[in-house]
C-alpha cells in the first residue's frame, strides 16, 4: 500500500512491545490501519492522544523514530469474480505471481447477519464418508471443526470433503500452515482441476504469527461476496484455528490484559464466535459453510480453545485410529453434527435416524465387551457378536476411506444388524423393521 500525498507522518514511537507499538497521534479512528516503517498495523487502543498499534509483521527492528502513517480505513479486501483461482497472503496480496485483483473495496470483519434474515439450513452436504454422512451429516450453513491431534490426517480429510462437496466456491483460510501442507492443498486443488472454484488466503509458519489474525476475516469477506452478491454456496476451510487463538493470546498478553483460563484472553468466546457465526444459509440460495480444524494437545477438549469452540460450532468431528482394523475412523461417540436433525429422515430415508442411533448403541456395546475382554472376563454370546459387529461396522462404515451413497450406508447397516443380532436386540420401530429387516 503506497502512502499518499498530504498524509501526516509521525516519527516518534513512545513504546514498543513484541506485538505492539504506541505513539501520540490525533484524529485516528478505532481499528484504523497504519503503516509502521512499511509494515501494516492496526489501531487496537486509544487513550487520549496515545494510540496503540498492533503490528501484524511483528515489531522486530522497529526503531523509535519509525515512520508511521495512518491510512484512514480499516482492513479491506477488493472483491470481484477475479478472486477465483487465486492465492493470497494474509493481507490479500497475491502470492501466486498473478496480478492484483481489481474490485470493490470491502471492510473485513464486517457486521453480522440479522438473525431474522437467515434461513434454517436444510441442504445436505454429501461427502461419501459414512462416518460423516450417516452419523454426523453436514448441512449447508453449518460450522463444524475437526478436533484432531496434530499427527492426524485432518488436512487430507478436509481436502477430501472439500473436493466431494458440491460447493460453488471453496475458500481456504490457512493459518500457520507448514509450507508442506500449503503445497499439499495447492496440489490437491490443481489435480482435481478445480482451481477456478478455489480461493486461498494463506499464512504459513514462515510468516509472522500476528498476521494470522487477518486470515479468517479475509476468507469470510470473500465468502460473503460470493454468497450474498452472487448467491453461491461457499465452503470455507479454516486450518488451524488453534494457531489463530494463540495469536490472539499473544496480542492480549502484550496489551497487559488479564488472562482467563489457559492464558487465553477473556474475550476468546466472542472472538471465535465472530468468525464461526459468519456461517449462514440465506433464503435466496447463497450459503457459507465453515469446516475448521482445531488441533488439540493430548486429546484435551477441556482446554479453553476447543472448549469455547465446541460451544460455538454446530458439533465437532473427531478422528481416531482404530487399532482393530488399522484405519482412521470418524469416532461415532465423540463426534456430533447438531444440524443433522434438519436433514436426516427428511432429505434422507426415514429409517436413517433410528439406524444411526442403533448402530452407535451396538458399537458402544462392542466397546464395553472389549473392555471386559481386556480385563480378563468371560464374554457372553451377545458380547462375542457385538465385537464382530463392531469390527465390521468400523471397517465398512466408519473408516474415512469409505465413499458410498447414503442409502447404501443404511443398507450396509441393516445387513450388519441381521448378520449379528436378533430383532429384539436391534429394537428399531416396528414399521422400519417390517420394511428393511434383512433377516428372517
Amino acid at each position: 500500500m503506497e502512502t499518499k500525498a498530504f498524509q501526516k507522518i509521525y516519527t516518534k514511537i513512545i513504546q514498543i512491545t513484541k506485538a505492539t507499538c504506541s505513539l501520540r497521534a490525533s484524529g485516528v479512528g478505532y481499528e484504523e490501519l497504519a503503516m509502521v516503517n512499511g509494515r501494516l498495523a492496526q489501531v487496537v487502543k486509544i487513550i487520549g492522544d496515545v494510540v496503540t498499534l498492533q503490528v501484524f509483521g511483528g515489531t522486530e527492528g522497529i526503531p523509535t523514530n519509525a515512520e508511521v502513517v495512518f491510512l484512514g480505513k480499516p482492513p479491506v479486501l477488493k472483491v470481484s469474480d477475479d478472486l477465483a483461482g487465486r492465492f493470497f497472503d494474509a493481507f490479500g496480496n497475491p502470492i501466486d505471481g498473478g496480478p492484483e485483483v481489481e474490485g470493490e473495496e470491502r471492510e473485513i470483519g464486517g457486521p453480522s447477519v440479522n438473525p431474522v434474515r437467515r434461513k434454517q439450513p436444510s441442504e445436505l452436504i454429501a461427502t461419501g464418508i459414512a462416518g460423516i454422512d450417516m452419523n454426523n451429516t453436514l448441512v449447508t450453513g453449518q460450522k463444524i471443526p475437526f478436533f484432531a491431534e496434530p499427527d492426524q490426517p485432518f488436512n487430507q480429510v478436509m481436502a477430501m470433503v472439500a473436493m466431494r462437496a458440491k460447493a460453488d466456491k471453496i475458500i481456504l483460510g490457512g493459518m500457520g500452515l507448514t509450507n508442506d501442507d500449503y503445497l499439499f492443498y495447492k496440489n490437491v486443488f490443481e489435480n482435481a482441476g478445480a482451481l477456478e472454484r478455489i480461493i486461498s488466503f494463506v499464512n504459513t509458519t514462515e510468516n509472522p504469527p500476528v498476521e494470522r489474525l487477518l486470515v479468517p476475516d479475509m476468507a469470510l469477506t470473500a465468502a460473503e461476496y460470493f454468497a450474498v452478491d452472487k448467491k453461491q454456496s461457499v465452503l470455507v476451510l479454516l486450518t488451524d484455528m488453534t494457531l489463530y487463538a494463540d495469536a490472539l493470546s499473544i496480542v492480549s498478553n502484550r496489551m497487559d490484559q488479564i488472562p482467563s483460563k489457559d492464558s487465553m484472553p477473556g474475550s476468546l468466546y466472542s472472538d471465535l464466535a465472530k468468525i464461526y457465526e459468519k456461517a449462514v444459509q440465506f433464503p435466496d440460495g447463497g450459503s457459507i459453510t465453515i469446516i475448521a480444524v482445531t488441533t488439540l494437545s493430548g486429546g484435551d477438549i477441556t482446554h479453553a480453545i476447543p472448549d469455547n469452540t465446541g460451544y460455538i460450532t454446530e458439533g465437532q468431528l473427531f478422528l481416531r485410529k482404530d487399532s482393530d482394523i488399522g484405519k482412521v475412523i470418524v469416532d461415532p461417540f465423540r463426534s456430533l453434527s447438531r444440524l443433522k436433525q434438519l436433514v436426516i429422515g427428511k432429505k434422507t430415508r426415514k429409517d436413517h435416524p433410528q439406524v444411526m442411533n442403533t448402530a452407535i448403541r451396538l458399537f458402544a456395546d462392542a466397546a464395553q465387551a472389549k473392555t471386559k475382554l481386556e480385563n480378563g472376563f468371560d464374554l457372553t454370546d451377545y458380547d462375542e457378536r457385538t465385537l464382530k459387529f463392531g469390527k465390521e461396522y468400523s471397517d465398512k462404515l466408519l473408516a474415512i476411506d469409505v465413499n458410498i451413497e447414503i442409502d447404501e450406508m443404511l443398507d450396509t447397516a441393516w445387513n450388519l444388524f441381521a448378520k449379528y443380532f436378533s430383532k429384539a436386540e436391534v429394537a428399531i420401530r416396528s414399521e422400519f423393521m417390517d420394511l428393511y429387516w434383512k433377516g428372517e
Binding site: G29, Y30, I47, S270, A364, F377, A424
Partner: protein, 588 residues
C-alpha cells in the same frame, strides 16, 4: 421518557474495544444511557463506571472508526424497555429493538427500531371505573393480544394511590392514545396510555406477596416431571458440557410447558438455533390453545456474533418483559440460553476496566449478580388477589464441562432445581442426558408441592418417585460391581438390580425429543408409565443363569419403548401392552 432539555454532554477520550471513556461536562448516573454521535448515526452505550470527570461507557455496537473528541449525549434515563400490547410473537435484539423491522441482510449500527407497533389498533375494554382508587400495576382495562388477555395497567413508576378520573370507553385505540386520566392526592392529573417504560435492571415489585411456589409446572419431559419436578414460579438451571443436549432440552420445555407466555432469551448462543425457533414456532400448534406457539412467545436474540455489551442487557430485558406479563396474572416461562455467556460479557468488561479479578478472571460480584437475577422469578399474589408466576430456567455452559467453575457454582446457590447433563449419558446417546442421580429438585421436599402431588396425581406418588430413584441408584451400584467382578462373579440378583435400573432409564428417563408421540408425555401417561415400570421392578423374576437376564429385559424394554412411540391407549399401544404382560408371565 423524553430526553431532558439540559443534557449532560461529553467527548470521547479513549477507546479499547467496546469500552469507551468520555470526559463529561455535567452530572451522569451509573447505568445511564448515552449516545455517541458518529458519522450521522447515534450509537447507544451505557455508563458502567464513573471516575471524576471521566466516565466509562460500554458501547452496544462495534466501535470501529470512533475517534477521540467525538460528541456523546447523555439521556438521564437508564436502559428501559417499552411495555404494552404487541410484545408477543416479536423477535427483539437484546435492547428490545424489533429485528424484523430492520432493513437489509446485515445488522447496521444504530438501526434502532421501535419495540411496538404504534399504528396497530387494539380493542380496548375498560376494567376500572371512574372514582376507583388504584395503585401501580392495577388493571385499568384489557385488550386481547393474540389469545392472551393483555391487561392495561397503572404504570409501574406511579408511586402511591391515585383516583380514576376518566377511563376510555370500550373501543378501538392505538397504544399511544389516552385510555385513562388518574389524579393523585394533590389533585394533579396524569394521562395514561397503553404503554409505559421501565428500567430493566430494577425488579418490578408491584405485587402483594411472594409465597413459596407449590403448583407443578408440567413440561411433558418425563425425567423432569416425574423425577425432579419444577413448579410454577420455580427456578432451575441446566449445566452441561457442549453436545450434551442443553438446547434441545430447553426447546422441548419451551414448546411443551404449561405456560401462558414464553419468553426466550438467546444470549450469546448460535444464530442457527434462534433461526430454528423462528422457523418452527410459527408452525407448531400449542396443544392447549390450538393456536401457533409463536403467538404466546417472545424471543430476545443476542446471538454470539451480536455486540457483547448487549448480552447482559438481553437477559434483563427478557426478565422485565416476563415481570410485565406476570403482573397481568399470567403464567410466564422464561428461558435463558446461556447465562454463562452473560457472565463472560461481564468478565470482558471488568477485564477492560482493569478491575481486580475474582476466580477464573470473573468479576468479584458475579455470585451476587446471579442470585439477584434468579430472585426476580417467583409465584406472586397480585394486589387484586389474582396470581401470576415467572418460572425461570437458565442453561449454564461450564468451561471444560467442569461443574466447579464460578458460574455453575454461583447458580447452584441461586436455583432450586438442578438438571445436570452428563457427558457420559450424552456419549451413549441416552437423551435427555439429565443425570438422574446427581440432579435434584428442592421443590420435591416442599410440603406445599407434596400436598399438591398427592391431590392431583396420587396419594403415594412421592413414594413411587423415591422408589424409582432408589432402583436407579441400586442399578448403578450393581453395574459398578458387575464391572469389577465380572458377569459370573456376582449373584444373579445383581444382574436383576442392574436391569431394573436400566428399565427405568430406557423407558422413563430416555425420551425421543424428535419423535412426534414420545416427545411429550402428559402427566396421566407419566403416572401410568411409572406404575407399570415399578410393577415390573417389583417382580422377583426367576432365572437359571445370568445370561438369560440380559435378553429377557431387552425384550421388556423394547416392548415398553414401542409403547412410548405409540399414541396413548391406541390399538397399537394396547397390543404392545398385552405383549408385555405375556413376556412378564413367562418368568413370574
Amino acid at each position: 421518557m423524553e430526553r431532558e432539555v439540559k443534557q449532560t454532554k461529553g467527548k470521547i477520550a479513549g477507546i479499547i474495544a467496546n469500552l469507551v471513556t468520555v470526559e463529561v461536562d455535567g452530572p451522569v448516573s451509573q447505568n445511564e444511557i448515552c449516545y455517541i454521535k458518529h458519522a450521522g448515526i447515534d450509537l447507544m452505550a451505557e455508563v458502567i463506571k464513573v471516575f471524576e470527570k471521566k466516565v466509562f461507557i460500554q458501547v452496544f455496537e462495534s466501535t470501529r472508526g470512533l475517534k477521540v473528541g467525538q460528541d456523546v449525549e447523555f439521556t438521564s434515563a437508564m436502559l428501559e424497555v417499552t411495555l404494552g400490547p404487541g410484545i408477543l410473537s416479536r423477535n427483539y435484539d437484546g435492547l428490545q429493538h424489533d429485528l424484523d423491522r430492520m432493513e437489509g441482510v446485515f445488522l447496521k449500527r444504530g438501526d434502532y427500531t421501535a419495540a411496538l407497533d404504534y399504528e396497530k389498533i387494539w380493542d380496548f375494554i375498560p376494567l376500572a371505573k371512574v372514582g376507583d382508587t388504584v395503585a401501580a400495576a392495577d388493571w385499568l382495562g384489557e385488550v386481547t393480544e393474540n389469545v392472551i388477555p393483555h391487561k392495561i395497567m397503572v404504570p409501574f413508576k406511579f408511586a402511591g394511590k391515585y383516583s380514576v378520573k376518566k377511563i376510555a370507553a370500550a373501543g378501538e385505540y392505538t397504544v399511544n392514545e389516552e385510555i385513562a386520566i388518574l389524579t393523585d392526592s394533590k389533585g394533579l392529573e396524569y394521562k395514561v396510555t397503553m404503554t409505559q417504560k421501565w428500567p430493566v435492571k430494577i425488579p418490578i415489585k408491584t405485587f402483594a406477596q411472594k409465597p413459596r411456589p407449590f403448583r407443578l409446572l408440567e413440561t411433558g419431559v418425563r425425567t423432569i416431571d416425574t423425577l425432579n419436578p419444577i413448579v410454577e414460579g420455580g427456578t432451575g438451571f441446566v449445566p452441561g458440557p457442549f453436545g450434551s443436549g442443553k438446547t434441545v432440552l430447553q426447546q422441548a420445555i419451551s414448546k411443551q410447558a404449561e405456560a401462558d407466555v414464553v419468553i426466550m432469551a438467546a444470549c450469546g448462543e448460535r444464530a442457527n438455533e434462534v433461526v430454528e425457533i423462528f422457523a418452527e414456532f410459527p408452525e407448531i400448534e400449542d396443544p392447549r390453545t390450538g393456536r401457533k406457539l409463536m403467538e404466546r412467545t417472545t424471543i430476545i436474540a443476542n446471538t454470539s456474533n451480536m455486540p457483547v455489551a448487549a448480552r447482559e442487557a438481553s437477559v434483563y430485558t427478557a426478565m422485565t418483559l416476563a415481570e410485565y406479563y406476570r403482573s397481568m396474572g399470567l403464567k410466564v416461562l422464561l428461558l435463558a440460553d446461556s447465562t454463562s455467556r452473560w457472565a463472560q460479557a461481564l468478565r470482558e468488561m471488568s477485564n477492560r476496566m482493569e478491575e481486580l479479578p475474582g476466580p477464573d478472571a470473573f468479576p468479584m460480584d458475579l455470585p451476587a449478580i446471579i442470585s439477584n437475577f434468579y430472585s426476580r422469578a417467583g409465584f406472586v399474589h397480585l394486589n387484586n388477589g389474582k396470581t401470576g408466576s415467572i418460572t425461570f430456567i437458565g442453561t449454564v455452559s461450564p468451561a471444560g464441562g467442569n461443574l466447579k467453575e464460578p458460574v455453575t457454582e454461583s447458580t447452584k446457590k441461586a436455583a432450586r432445581c438442578f438438571y445436570a447433563l452428563s457427558q457420559q449419558r450424552a456419549d451413549s446417546k441416552r437423551y435427555p442426558a439429565i443425570d438422574p442421580i446427581d440432579s435434584y429438585s428442592k421443590y420435591l421436599e416442599y410440603p406445599e408441592l407434596q400436598e399438591y402431588l398427592k391431590t392431583n396425581i396420587s396419594e403415594d406418588w412421592i413414594d413411587q418417585v423415591l422408589r424409582a430413584k432408589n432402583f436407579l441408584l441400586r442399578g448403578k451400584e450393581a453395574s459398578e460391581q458387575i464391572n469389577i467382578l465380572g458377569d459370573d462373579g456376582v449373584p444373579i440378583d445383581y444382574h436383576l438390580r442392574f436391569w431394573r435400573g436400566e428399565v427405568i432409564d430406557f423407558v422413563v428417563l430416555q425420551q425421543d425429543a424428535f419423535d412426534d408421540v414420545d416427545k411429550r408425555t402428559p402427566l396421566d401417561r407419566q403416572k401410568f408409565l411409572l406404575e407399570t415400570v415399578l410393577g415390573i421392578c417389583n417382580i422377583d423374576f426367576s432365572f437359571e443363569s445370568f445370561d438369560e437376564v440380559n435378553p429377557y429385559f431387552k425384550r421388556i424394554i423394547n416392548t415398553l419403548k414401542q409403547m412410548n412411540y405409540s399414541e396413548y391407549e391406541s390399538e397399537k399401544f394396547n397390543s404392545f401392552y398385552s405383549e408385555l404382560q405375556t413376556i412378564i408371565k413367562e418368568r413370574k
